[in-house]
Subunit: 463 residues, 3 copies
C-alpha cells in the first residue's frame, strides 16, 4: 500500500481520532477547483493521454525541476518537446530517481494517483519502472481513462482553466455545445495585454482591438475592449479574473494620467518603472470592472519569472525556474484599497509566495477590509507543512471566514483529487489540534471543515 | 461550559500533565499589567459600564475589525459614537456573527469573560443574544461590577495606563487622593509632541511649554520640558516610557545638528525624511533621559497607522485599520545602541509586529546588548500561535531572562485576566514541551514559569 | 544525570519510538565536520588545554554574549586576553549564571561535554562551581585529555578548519608530517584578500603576491595568485572554499570591467558600492576556479559584523556582536547562477542567517539549479528549534538530497560531538514525525537518517 488511511493526521491518538472524524465528514464532498492550468482541449477532444511520461513527467514542473536540480538533463526528459518520443526512457529516469521526492508533496500526489487510479501499490523504483509503465500505459488506452471519464470519476463539481483575453475559447464553447454535463469554465487572465514585457504584447493589443471592435490604441478603447472580453468569458461561465504580477503594486491614477501612461506604454519606450506602474494601475482598473460585472479578482504576485536564462531560452516559460521574491502588500495595495477596499460587493483574493506576509500583512489586511479575502497556500507552499503554516499564521487574525478554501493551481490533471485530498486532511489535522487543545468545540470544527472544503470556495468564487 | 480546564495545553498526555502542573504553580499569581490602554477615569469615577455593547464591542478593535471585514457596517455597530444608542441592536449583530471569531484570540478572551465574570456557560449566538445581553446588563448594574470592584476581583497587583505628556493626569491624581489602595500608574508616551505628523503637534509643543514653564521653541527648552514632564509622571508612579514609531530608526546627531533639525521641524517645513530623523533622534534623547531618571523605555515600531483612509476620516484613530509593515532593527537601532547599548543601568524593551525579526534580529540583539530586553508577542501576535512562535524563535538565542513577561496592551478592561491567563497557559505549554523533550528539567521549568509570569516583568519594569 | 536518553525526541510515544529506532542506526556513525573554526595548532602541538575557563568560556561567543547581555563584564570574563589569569573566578561567574542558558543550545552542548567527557552528572551552579572546576581541571592534565586523545575519542572521521589564503598552513603541514593518522584539513577562506574593508587588506594583497610569485597589483596576477593559493590548500587535503560576505550579491562583469574595478579597489579610493561589487565579482571568479580545481564553494552571507563598536574596539572580532540582517538571494545570486548555475560539476553550498529565505528563496533555488545545495541551519539557527524549522521549511521544495548534512561551525572543540548529536537527534525527530504521519515509510527514513548524518556531507564536500 502506498497510502495509509491516516496519512497527514497528527500522530497523537486523541487528536488523530478527531481528525479522522472531521475528515470522514468532508472526504467525499465534491471538488471545486476554481483556479488551475489544465487544458479545456483535453475534455473537448477527449483523446487518450498518450503515455505515462507525457501524463506525469512532462507537464509537471515540480517533478522535472527536482530531477534537474540533481543533474538530470531536461533533454533526456524531453521537456518542452511537442511529443515525447521515448516515454519509456523518460519514465525510467523518473522512476530510478523517485527517492528524490521523499518528503515532498509531489510524492504524495503521485502515490495517490498511482494507487487510487492505477491500482499500483508498490513504491516506484528503478526495479519496477517498466512494470508500472506498462500498467499505466495499458489503462490509459481504455475508455475508463479518457479525459472525460477521468473527470467524471474525480468527483469534480466545477473546474476552472486560465486563459488569455485573446483566447477564442473554442474548446470551452465546444464543451458547452457538446452537451456533456461537466462544468468547466475559464478564468480571465489579462497578463498578455497588461504586462508590456510579455512576449507579443503589442500584437496582443492589436488583436484585442480586432476581436472586440474597439480602438485599443487609445485608453478608453483599450478599457472597453477589456470589458467586452471579460463579458465574453463570463458568458462561458467565467466567474473570476487572475493577475500574475511581479509585485503587488497598485496605483490609482487620474484618468488623464492613466491615458498618458498607456500611450507611453504603447510607444514601446516606457521604462521599467512605467511598465510596473501600468500593471499597478491595471489592477485598479480591473477592480473597477469587477464592481461592474461581478467577476472575482485574484492577485498572484511575487514570482521572479524565468530566473534561469538558459532554461528559459532553450525550453520556454513555466519550466520550473520561477523563483519567489519578497513581496510587500501593506504599501503596494494601499492605492487600490483606498479606492475600492471598503466595497462589500467586490472580492479580491490575495495570494503570496512570501510566507512572511501571512501574519504581518495579509491576515491583518484581510481581517479588516471588506473587499479582501486570502487565497490558500500557493505553489511552493501548497504542501502539508506549507498549508499548516498558512492556517497557523493566518487564522488568528483573519479568522477562517476570510479565507476561500483550496486551489490546486495545477497543470497536472491527475493530481487534482490528490491535492484536494491533502488539503482536506491538513485542514482536518489543524482543526483537530484546535479541538484537542480545547480552543474550538467539535461541532464547530465539523462545520468549519465543511466550510473550508466546500462552502467558502463556492461563495468566494461565486461558483 | 465555554472553558475547558486544559485549554491551550498540548494534547499529548505526558506534556499535558507537565503543563498542568506548571500552570497550577502560576495560575493565581497576581497580575502585573505594565502596558495598556485602559482609562484611569473608569476607576477614578467608578461609574458602572453602561451596557454589554459599550463594554465588549465598542472599544475592542479586534472585535469590530473582524465584523467589518465580513461586511458589517461600522455605523450599525455605532463605532466612534460618544454613546451607544442602541446597545441591544449592536449586541445582536455581534452575537449573530460570533462564529467569525472561531480560532481567534478574541474568542478565547470573550469566552473567558462571559464565563468567569458573568457565569454564562453557553456559546454566544443569534439565538441566545438577548438572554446573554440581559444577564450581562443586569450584572453591570450591581455594585460587584463597578470598575473598582472588577479591578479588585481581577487579582491585579499593578495596572499601567498610557498617557500623553500633555495629559494633566487628574484621574491618576484623583485615584491617589481617593485613598483607594489599588496601584494604577501612567506610562509616558511622548508621540504627540515627537511625531510632527501627529494631529495638533504644534499646539502640543506650545502647551508643553506652558505646562512646564520652558521655552519649547528652542531645542534645550524642549528637552527640559520633556524632562520635567517625565518627572511629573514619575511622581504619580510611572516607571516607563513608550514610543510608537512607524520604524525603529534611531539617530545620534551632534547637539547643534539636533537643534537645527528641531527648528526645521517647528517651522512646519520639514520633509518626511526629516520628520523620521527627528523621531529617530528623540529615541536617543529619551534613552539619555532614562539614564538620568530611571524610566524604562519601550519601543513599539512597525504599525502603518490608519491604512484605511475612509475609516480614519469617518471614525478616527485606532479603529482596526493599522497594518504591520516589515521592520528593520539591525541597522535602525545601531546609532542608539552604539551610544547607550552597553549601559547596564538602562532598559530598552523592544517590540515588533514583524515576526521575521524575532530570530534574525531581535533575539541576537537582546542576547548581546546589556541595555536590551524583548517585549512579548504584540498586538496581532498576542495569540496562542503567536506567543508560541515567539518563544520558539526567541528563546534559543536570547534565553528566557532577556524577555520581560507578558503585556496585555488592551483597551478592553475585562480582557486583562483572560489575556494573562492565555499567556500563562502558553508559556506553561512551551515549558512543558521542553521538559517532555528533556531539554529542561521540571524544577527549572517551575522556576521559569514563575519568572515568565511574575518575576521578569516586575524586574524589567521596576514595578 | 544531565542527559536523558530520549532528549530532543517527540514526546508522543509512537513518534518517539520511531525516532529512537532511527537514532540507534546513526548514533555511532563517524563525525564528518566539513566546516568550523577549531585550530590545527591544538593538534599539531598537542598541549593540554589550560583550564576549564579557557576551554569552555573564553572561545565561545555563544556563552559570553549571553553573560554580557545580562550585565556580566567582559573584562571579568577575561575575554580577549591572551591568557586567562584567573580561570577559577571566570568559571564561578559562568557557573553562577548557568540558569541563563536554560532553553538554549549552549546548555545542551555544555551538559553533553560535562557528562560525556568529564563524568559530571549534576547541573552546574554557584554551589558546585569549584567542585566542577576541579574535576575538569584535573582531567585536562591527564594524557586522555590531550587534544589528539580527545580527537580520537570523538569519533571524528575528518575535521576541517578555516584559513586565510595567506596562512602558511604550517600546523596542517606539521600534522601531515607527524604521521598521526587523523584527517584534519583546511578550508580556503579568501575574505582577507577579497574584502577591501578587511583590516590589513592592502598588505594582504602584497603578501599574496610574494607567496605566489604573482604580480597581484594587476587583475590577472591577482587571479593567478588565488589559483595557486587554492592549489596549495588542496595539496593539504582542502576540498572547499568559504566566503563570508555581508550580502549574497554576485556579479558577472566583463574581464576589462573587472580589471578596472580591481585597480580601483587597490587604489583605496573605491566607494562602498564598488567594494560590494568587487566581492560580488569575486564569488563568480571563485566559482570559475572551482570548476577548474574542483573545490566546493560555501557562501555564508548576512552577518552584520561588529555591530557593537565599543566591544569591537576593545575586544576585537568575533566577540558575539555580529547581528544577522535580511538577506536577498533571488536577485543577488542571479548573475552567478546565470553564468554557472547549470554546471553539474560545480557545487555551491548556500547558508543563511535569515530564515525567511528558506521557503521563499533558498529551497526553490536549490530545488532547481544543478550547482546549488543548501547548507544546514547556521549559527544562531544551529539549535533544536532552528534545525527543525530548517527541515520543515526546506524539505518540501528542495527535498532531502539538495541538502548537505550538518556543519558544526564551531570554535569550541569539545562541542563538536555534542552538536552533531543534537543534529542527529533532530533529524531523527523530524523523520519520525513524517513516518508517524505516514508521509514516509520507515525503511526510507532509515536510509535518509544515514544520508543526513553521513552520506550527503561526504558527497557534497568530496570528503
Amino acid at each position: 500500500m502506498l497510502l495509509h488511511e491516516d496519512r497527514l493526521f497528527p500522530s497523537e491518538p486523541n487528536a488523530r481520532k478527531i481528525a479522522r472524524s472531521l475528515y470522514a465528514g468532508v472526504r467525499t464532498l465534491p471538488i471545486i477547483s476554481p483556479h488551475g492550468h489544465t487544458q479545456a482541449s483535453w475534455f473537448a477532444e477527449n483523446q487518450p493521454f498518450p503515455d505515462p511520461a507525457t501524463l506525469f513527467v512532462q507537464p509537471d514542473h515540480y517533478v522535472f525541476r527536482m530531477l534537474y536540480s540533481q543533474g538530470v538533463s531536461l533533454d533526456d526528459l524531453e521537456i518542452g518537446a511537442p511529443v515525447v518520443k521515448n516515454p519509456r526512457k523518460v519514465w525510467r529516469i523518473f522512476a530510478s530517481n523517485y527517492h528524490l521526492f521523499r518528503g515532498t508533496p509531489s510524492r504524495l500526489w503521485l502515490d495517490f494517483a498511482f494507487q487510487e487510479l492505477f491500482g499500483i501499490e508498490e513504491r516506484l523504483s528503478a526495479k519496477n519502472a517498466d512494470a508500472c509503465f506498462d500498467v499505466i500505459d495499458a489503462k490509459l488506452k481504455t475508455p475508463e481513462f479518457l479525459p472525460r471519464a477521468l473527470f467524471e470519476r474525480s468527483n469534480l463539481e466545477v473546474l476552472s482553466t486560465t486563459e488569455s483575453p485573446l483566447d477564442a475559447l473554442k474548446d470551452h464553447q465546444a464543451l458547452r455545445d457538446s452537451g456533456w454535463k461537466a462544468r468547466i469554465v475559464p478564468a480571465f487572465r489579462p497578463d498578455p495585454v497588461v504586462d508590456a514585457e510579455f512576449k507579443g504584447f503589442a500584437e496582443g493589443i492589436a488583436e484585442l482591438g480586432r476581436q472586440t471592435g474597439e480602438d485599443t490604441l487609445i485608453w478608453k478603447g483599450y478599457l472597453n475592449a477589456l470589458r467586452k472580453a471579460r463579458l465574453r468569458f463570463k458568458a462561458l461561465g467565467c466567474t473570476s479574473t487572475d493577475h500574475g504580477h511581479l509585485t503587488a503594486e497598485t496605483a490609482d491614477l487620474a484618468e488623464d494620467e492613466a491615458a498618458k501612461l498607456y500611450g507611453n506604454i504603447l510607444s514601446g519606450k516606457a521604462n521599467s518603472a512605467e511598465i510596473v506602474l501600468f500593471q499597478a494601475q491595471m489592477l485598479t482598473e480591473n477592480a473597477r470592472m469587477s464592481l461592474e460585472d461581478g467577476l472575482v479578482m485574484q492577485i498572484h504576485p511575487g514570482a521572479t519569472r524565468n530566473h534561469n536564462q538558459f532554461v528559459y531560452e532553450r525550453y520556454g516559460r513555466d519550466k520550473g525556474c520561477d523563483i519567489p521574491r519578497p513581496t510587500n502588500y501593506v504599501d503596494a495595495l494601499r492605492p487600490l484599497l483606498n479606492r475600492f477596499g471598503n466595497e462589500k460587493n467586490l472580492t479580491i483574493i490575495l495570494f503570496t509566495l512570501d510566507e512572511t506576509a501571512y501574519s504581518r500583512e495579509l491576515a491583518p489586511l484581510a481581517g479588516h477590509y471588506p473587499a479582501l479575502r486570502l487565497g490558500p497556500a500557493w505553489w511552493f507552499h501548497d504542501s502539508p507543512e506549507g498549508m499548516m503554516r498558512y492556517r497557523e499564521q493566518v487564522t488568528e487574525t483573519a479568522g477562517f471566514y476570510n479565507t476561500v478554501g483550496f486551489n490546486d493551481d495545477t497543470r497536472a490533471f491527475l493530481s487534482i483529487p490528490a491535492r484536494h485530498d491533502v488539503a482536506r486532511r491538513i485542514d482536518c489535522a489543524f482543526l483537530a489540534r484546535l479541538v484537542a487543545e480545547h480552543r474550538l468545540e467539535e461541532d464547530e470544527a465539523h462545520e468549519l471543515a465543511h466550510e473550508l472544503t466546500y462552502g467558502l470556495v463556492k461563495k468566494a468564487y461565486k461558483l
